[in-house]
């Protein structure tokens, strides 16, 4: 279906159109959220919220960008807002963990599928730790590029930056990651 038709159907509240939209974009959106949010359960929650938001706000979509760009932008904003909110409520975490029970390492590590080798898990864990220290925009650009295979042009549209700006962000992200991973390497934590 052409994009205009999909948008028109969504604006009419067509459930089938919404279902096919969810099927089409769920993998990218879930990867995007999982890249930005450390906890994979929370990332899944936010990915679902993204589509709820798409369904509710489709009438506000002005069609100035592509539908995919708009959805990715919602996903990035929701994930970042979630991280910020979590950061603000960090002082409540020990209390929450006491009553609800803290997350296990498996929950925090998106690469912790049983089929993954221990080495891969460790590497993924350290990489995530290193990614957490990156500035927000570098992290987002790196995730969109690495997890979602978005082109630099698509990333520039989602983040509202120039192409050269995105290139520079991703390059700086890689250099910073290299520094962090080198520190880890020196300490022999690998």
């Amino acid at each position: 279906m052409e994009e205009e038709k999909v948008i028109a159907a969504l604006k009419r509240g067509d459930q089938m159109a919404f279902k096919s939209l969810v099927e089409q974009y769920q993998v990218v959106v879930r990867n995007m959220c999982a890249g930005i949010i450390k906890d994979r359960h929370e990332a899944e929650d936010i990915a679902q919220e993204v589509f709820v938001e798409v369904y509710r706000s489709i009438n506000n979509f002005r069609e100035e960008s592509r539908l995919s760009t708009w959805i990715y932008r919602i996903a990035v904003n929701k994930s970042l807002n979630h991280n910020r909110k979590k950061e603000r409520h960090r002082w409540l975490k020990p209390v929450e963990d006491f009553f609800v029970g803290g997350r296990t390492a498996e929950d925090l590590d998106p690469g912790s599928h049983p089929s993954h080798h221990l080495e891969n898990r460790q590497r993924s864990h350290y990489l995530h730790m290193a990614m957490d220290t990156l500035p927000e925009n570098q992290r987002v650009a790196f995730v969109l590029n690495k997890y979602d295979d978005l082109s630099y042009k698509e990333i520039s549209e989602v983040m509202g930056l120039s192409l050269s700006g995105v290139e520079s962000l991703i390059h700086r992200a890689k250099v910073n990651l290299q520094k962090k991973l080198w520190d880890c390497f020196k300490k022999d934590c690998l």
């Binding site: 769920q26 709820v52 369904y55 993924s124 290299q178 390497f185």
Partner: protein
């Protein structure tokens, strides 16, 4: 080039964005230096790991969960709207009326008790130190 210099340029090396001469120097160094080679392997693997870990298959229950959330969310929204649109103005009106009535009540206390005259003629016993220590006994102490 020192180890540090090689290490610094590894990202560019993997991207192939260095001049040919430098690319060759790094390649030769990696062949000779086991530490740098180990780090280079680790780095190249790490920068590929996110790709390995990403979700590739759609979740068959994802749409059901989104629909469920949408239905629950709509119920919640309607409930919240009802609270916001009916109870909130009602509560504010009630509080406002209570404030006005309370204000009138407080204002009329003085009138009822002839408060001005009362204030001029009577000293509250706990403010009247003359009761607790008459001036005579006070002067006698000197």
């Amino acid at each position: 080039m020192s180890h540090k210099r090689y290490k610094k340029n590894l990202v560019e090396y993997f991207e192939g964005s260095l001049p040919e001469e430098e690319m060759l120097q790094i390649r030769l160094h990696l062949e000779e230096c086991p530490t740098c080679l180990r780090f280079a392997d680790y780095l190249s693997d790490s920068l590929i790991v996110p790709g390995e870990n990403r979700i590739n298959e759609p979740d068959p229950f994802f749409f059901t969960r989104v629909s469920g959330r949408l239905t629950r969310g709509e119920d919640m929204t309607y409930r919240k709207m009802r609270i916001a649109h009916i109870w909130q103005p009602a509560l504010i009106t009630l509080l406002l009326m209570m404030a006005v009535i309370g204000g009138i009540g407080i204002g009329s206390i003085g009138k009822k008790n002839n408060f001005d005259r009362y204030a001029m003629e009577n000293l509250d016993p706990w403010l009247n130190e003359m009761n607790s220590e008459p001036i005579e006994s006070f002067l006698l102490e000197f």
